[in-house]
Amino acid sequence: MATATPTIPSAGPLPGSRSFLSRVRDGDEIARLVTFLFAASVVLITILLVYQLWVNSALPRQKFGLRFFVTQVWDPVMDEFGALPFVYGTVVTSAVALLLAVPLGIGAAIFLAELAPPRISDALQFLIDLLAAVPSVIYGLLGVFIVVPLMRTVIYPALNKPFGFLPIFKGPSYGVGFLTAGIVLAIMVIPYIISVSREVLLSVPRDQREAALAVGSTRWESTWKVVVPFAKTGIMGSIFLALARALGETMAVTMVIGNTPKIAASLFAPGYSIAAVIANEFTEATGDLYLQSLIALGLVLFLLTFIINGLARLLILVTTQKGSGSD
C-alpha cells in the first residue's frame, strides 16, 4: 500500500524486486498475459493464413511445378491451368495505372507541399484522403457507366486513329479492356501517391530549398532539382504502395477488364487479372485441381504484394529518416 515514504513498493517495474504473487495480485501479470495472448493471436492468424494458402495449393504445384507460371492456357475442361494470362493482366493494368497516376500524383503532391499555404494544403489533403476511402465497388460502378462508354466513344478513336499502327493501340475496342481497367485503377491509387509524397516532401529540411534559391534557381528548379531528388526514395516508396494497392484490387477491375484469360499486345483488348478470376470462379470451381489452381493464384498475388509492400516501407522509412536527420 502506498504511503508518503520515499520507497514506493508497488510502482515502477524493478524486475525481480517484487514477488510473483504480489504482481499477480495487482493484476499486472494477468494484464500482461492477456494482452500478450491477443498480440500473439495476430501472429498466429497470419501464419495460419500463409499456411492455408500453401497447403491448399499443393495439387497444381505437384502437377505443373514451375510450368504453372508460363502456361497461357486456362482450361477447366481439360484441367490445364496456367497463371501467365492473369499475371500479365495484373501487371499490365497496374503498369498503366502507375503511368497515369504517378505524374498526376507527384505533381499534386508538389503543389500541396511546396506551393499551397498550409491551411489549404491540409484541407486539400483531407479531401484527397476522402477519395482514398471510396469503396472499390463504387469505382467499378463508375467505370462501367462512365469510363467504358468514354473509352468507346472518345478515348479509343483519339488513340487508335493516329497511333493505330503501334501494337499497343491496335485492334478494335470493346469499351472494356486493359486500358479501361488501368484508368480506373489510376484514379484509385492517386490518393496514396499524393499523401505519402506530400509527407516526404514536407520532411525535406528547409535549408535544402533555401540553399538552392540562394544560388539563384527559380522556384521550380529548386523544387524539381533539389527537393524532389532529396525525397526520391520516399516518393518511390509511395509508388510501390500504390502499386501494391493496384495489384490486389478486385471489384473495380473485374467490372471493366473484360474477363478474358488471354494475352494481347493491344491495350484495348480484354484481359483478366488474378484477383478478378478468383472473384469470378472461386465459388464454382468444381474439381480440386481447379480450385487449388485458383488458390495458387491467390498465393502468387499475396507474394507479389508482400514483396512490394516491404520495398515500399523500406524506401519511405529511409527517406523520412534521412530528412529528419540533421545536416
Binding site: V77, G258, T260, T283, E284, T286
Partner: protein
C-alpha cells in the same frame, strides 16, 4: 468510461435484437442464372403462401450451384447442364448420398446481338454460329451470315463475341449444341459449364452477358430467352436439324421437348439440343434443381418436398408468362413420383 460502457451495452443489446430468432425456415440454394427469373417468381409466390418458409436462391451460375451443393454449403443447387458422372461420384463420395435431378421448366438459349442498323431477326446456320464462336468468322457481312439473310444489310464490322465468364449451364447448353453440329468445336472446345473460349469477352451471368451486348455495338452472345425478351435485345433464329429456321418461343421449345418426354431416363439427365422435329428449336434445354437424396433436417426436407410438389403442379402455371415452356405432361408425372425419392 461509463459512457463507453453504456454505449457498448447498447450495441450488444442491439445485436441481440437483430439476432432475434426469426421463426421462418431459411433454405439456401444457388445455381443457374438461366431460370433465375422463374425461380425468383416461384420462391416469392411460395413464400406468400407459406410465410414461414423462405427459399433464398442466389443466381451465381450452374457451376457454382453444383460446387456448393456438393460441398454442402447450400441446401439445393440448380443447373442447366446436368451433372456428369464424375461430378455425381464426387457428390456421392463427399456427402454419402446421391444427388437427384428434378427438371423444372424448359428454356432456350438464343443468339442475341447488337448490330447497328439491324433490328430484324437474323437467321443463323449451325456452321455460322460455330464459325463465329470459334473465331473463324470475324465480320458481320461474312457470306456464312449474309447467305441466309438476303435483304438485310450487314455492315463490314468486326464481330465482338460475348460469352460467360462464370461457370454456366447456359454455356453448357450452348456448347452442347455446338459440339453436336461442329466436329471442330467438339474436339477443340467441347461441352461444359466452363470452357476455354477461343474468342470473346466474358460477362458474369446471363445478366452480365445481356448487359455487355446492350452496351457493345457489333456484339453477339448467347443468353436465356427471357433475358433477351425482358431486355429488348434482338435475337435471331437458328436452323434446326430439319432445315427450318426457327425462332425460340414456347411452341418451338415444347416441340423440342416432345420427343424427349417419351424416352426420359429415370434420373432425368437428358440433352434435347438439336432435337428432331420440323418445328423444334434446336438450342432448347431442361433445367434442373439438384436435391440431395437424403436430407437430415426434417423441416427442410418437408419444405423442399412441399415446394417440389407445388412446383410441378401449380408452379407450372407461371412458366409461360415468363417465356419458359412447361414440362411435358409425361415428364411432370414422372417428376411427381420421383419426389418420393427424397428421404
Amino acid at each position: 468510461m461509463k459512457r463507453l460502457t453504456g454505449a457498448l451495452l447498447a450495441v450488444l443489446v442491439l445485436g441481440v435484437i437483430l439476432c432475434a430468432a426469426q421463426n421462418a425456415l431459411l433454405i439456401n440454394g444457388a445455381g443457374a442464372t438461366f431460370p433465375y427469373p422463374i425461380y425468383s417468381k416461384w420462391f416469392d409466390v411460395y413464400h406468400g403462401k407459406n410465410p414461414n418458409i423462405q427459399f433464398n436462391y442466389q443466381s451465381v451460375g450452374s457451376g457454382a450451384g453444383i460446387k456448393q451443393v456438393t460441398e454442402g454449403t447450400v441446401d439445393f443447387g440448380a443447373t442447366d447442364g446436368p451433372m456428369n458422372d464424375e461430378q455425381m461420384k464426387a457428390f456421392q463420395d463427399k456427402r454419402k448420398t446421391s444427388i437427384l435431378h428434378f427438371p423444372t421448366v424448359l428454356g432456350a438459349a438464343v443468339p442475341t446481338y447488337n448490330v447497328p442498323g439491324v433490328s430484324s431477326s437474323l437467321n443463323f446456320t449451325p456452321e455460322a454460329l460455330a464459325g463465329i464462336f470459334l473465331g473463324k468468322i470475324t465480320k458481320w457481312n461474312d457470306p456464312a451470315i449474309a447467305g441466309p439473310n438476303k435483304g438485310v444489310s450487314l455492315p463490314a464490322n468486326d464481330i465482338v463475341v460475348v460469352h460467360r465468364s462464370d461457370g454456366s449451364g447456359t454455356t453448357y447448353i450452348w456448347t452442347d449444341y455446338l459440339s453436336k453440329v461442329s466436329d471442330e468445336w467438339k474436339n477443340k472446345v467441347s461441352r461444359a459449364t466452363s470452357v476455354n473460349w477461343p474468342v470473346g469477352l466474358g460477362g458474369k451471368g446471363n445478366e452480365g452477358v445481356t448487359g455487355l451486348i446492350k452496351q457493345t455495338p457489333n456484339s453477339i452472345g448467347y443468353v436465356e430467352l427471357i433475358y433477351a425478351v425482358q431486355n429488348n435485345v434482338t435475337y435471331g433464329a437458328v436452323k434446326n436439324s430439319a432445315g427450318a429456321f426457327i425462332k425460340a418461343d414456347l411452341a418451338s421449345v415444347s416441340a423440342a421437348a416432345a420427343g424427349a418426354a417419351k424416352e426420359m431416363p429415370d434420373d432425368f439427365r437428358v440433352s434435347i439440343t438439336n432435337a428432331p422435329g420440323k418445328t423444334a428449336y434446336p438450342i432448347s434445354s431442361f433445367t434442373w434443381l439438384l436435391i440431395p437424396a437424403k436430407i437430415d433436417d426434417a423441416g427442410k426436407r418437408d419444405a423442399i418436398k412441399g415446394f417440389l410438389k407445388w412446383m410441378v403442379s401449380d408452379g407450372q402455371g407461371y412458366a409461360e408468362s415468363l417465356s419458359y415452356a412447361k414440362l411435358p405432361n409425361e415428364v411432370a408425372q414422372k417428376v411427381e413420383k420421383a419426389i418420393n425419392n427424397v428421404q
